[in-house]
Symmetry: C3
Subunit: 193 residues, 3 copies
């Protein structure tokens, strides 16, 4: 996953925390501390815009979370020996659900919209076959629109945008805008200089 990011790391972290305090407030940070009890491998957590803590359904996997924001109704489901990683600066909006049977890896500064569903497995085997799980990778600064679904084996390239309600069944190149069911590239985003 690409980790390049403009600017100096310390300044960046400071700016991010200042931003958090503005947006999440004291309450959001206190709830974030509570959430850390369920997510021991995490950075600074902020629970935004509500009192309800996200639901962490860890069935014997490993969840690594950086400095992240969580909205109410978020649910992380991590199966035995599976891995969920969420990079710093990312947030998961209301009711987002992540299901990892193998691995779901979300980069830094991603914006995951409300009601988004990310699953690296169909959860049910086809008759006569073993359950299939293929890792999902969402690279840095990806923005996923409300109610999109990201399915097994998908890699979404950095700086891409997924339209609301899209069903992402295949990988997406970096700096692309995709939409539809199944999601297709509708345009590219020029690099910022």
């Amino acid at each position: 996953m690409q980790r390049a990011w403009p600017g100096n790391r310390t300044a960046r972290v400071r700016g991010r925390i200042a931003h958090r305090l503005r947006t999440g407030g004291i309450r959001g940070h206190l709830l974030g501390l509570l959430l850390k009890l369920k997510l021991p491998r995490s950075g600074v957590l902020v629970v935004m815009a509500g009192w309800r803590l996200p639901e962490i359904d860890d069935r014997g996997g490993r969840i690594d979370v950086g400095d992240c924001g969580f909205f109410p109704g978020v649910r992380l489901e991590c199966w035995r020996d599976a891995v969920i990683r969420i990079g710093s600066g990312s947030y998961l909006n209301r009711n987002t659900e992540i299901v990892a049977a193998a691995s779901v890896d979300i980069g830094r500064d991603c914006k995951i919209g409300r009601d988004v569903l990310v699953m690296d497995t169909d959860q049910h085997a086809l008759p006569g076959r073993p359950l299939e799980a293929r890792p999902v990778v969402i690279e840095d600064r990806v923005w996923i629109g409300a109610r999109a679904i990201v399915l097994k084996g998908v890699r979404i390239g950095h700086d891409s945008v997924v339209g609301a309600g899209s069903i992402v069944t295949r990988s997406v190149p970096p700096r692309s805008v995709v939409a539809g069911q199944p999601a297709r590239v509708i345009r590219s985003i020029e690099a910022q200089s």
Copy 2:
């Protein structure tokens, strides 16, 4: 928004209230009074088919609601200085969610299906740009099918029907049936005489 409506106003209101009492019952009206505490600018409210009150997340905007029915799980999110208006005779079915960063205007006698999401903003700015919010207008007697999403800047013309699960990204002419992702006109509805 078109406000034309057949018949005499008083008779209409009477008929509507009689219908409400039949459908919503005493319980629905008592819960409606409780809901009015959170929605001071409202008409006769009825909470239907359940005990859970809708969630009103008013962050400093203005919510004007006529004589309306709300099902459990409805959520109105009104940002600072934004406006949500819902005309009389309309109802919002289970888990419908309205997000207004600028303005969401729903006409009279609209039927908003379950799990519908209406947002006048993508909630996140594209890099280097300000947050975009463009008003949504849903005219009178529109019927929006279950799980449809209505996005920023959309105007849905009066008497139109939006199919279940549609993603409405562009405006819809009056008396149209639209469906799909993105939603397209699939036929017109002839005017009733």
Copy 3:
């Protein structure tokens, strides 16, 4: 609905119950007994992966359920004189919702994915017409992917697979894989010998 199934019935039931005890555990069975209080016409019920009981909104219809598994957030809504049937060996994943105004019939060994919505009615009449309800039939061993919607009058043939997020508006032949909005056949599944 097709009821053919390989193997001897007793052995099958034993295997199924053993499987249930492995997957649902004691807790799942105890909750299943509680759920039976709301579903008197049912077989062995197991509530899986959570403590929340499914919501049974029976408005005067009839709900027949075999030996089935229910995940949290499932909701069955059965209107007056309507019928919901779910065959043995089937399970309904998280937040699946069934709405029957006339009849929804789900066969045996079906896998209904999370957030699936099955409705045999649009719930609202078009102006000047009566409310339309047309039975939905989901035959044996059908697998419905996450967040799919199955609409009125649809029959899904046995052994078919519905892709995640599909909107099923027309009937599906047996042993088909369908996906999209509206769902179309994308391939057939060869019979297993």
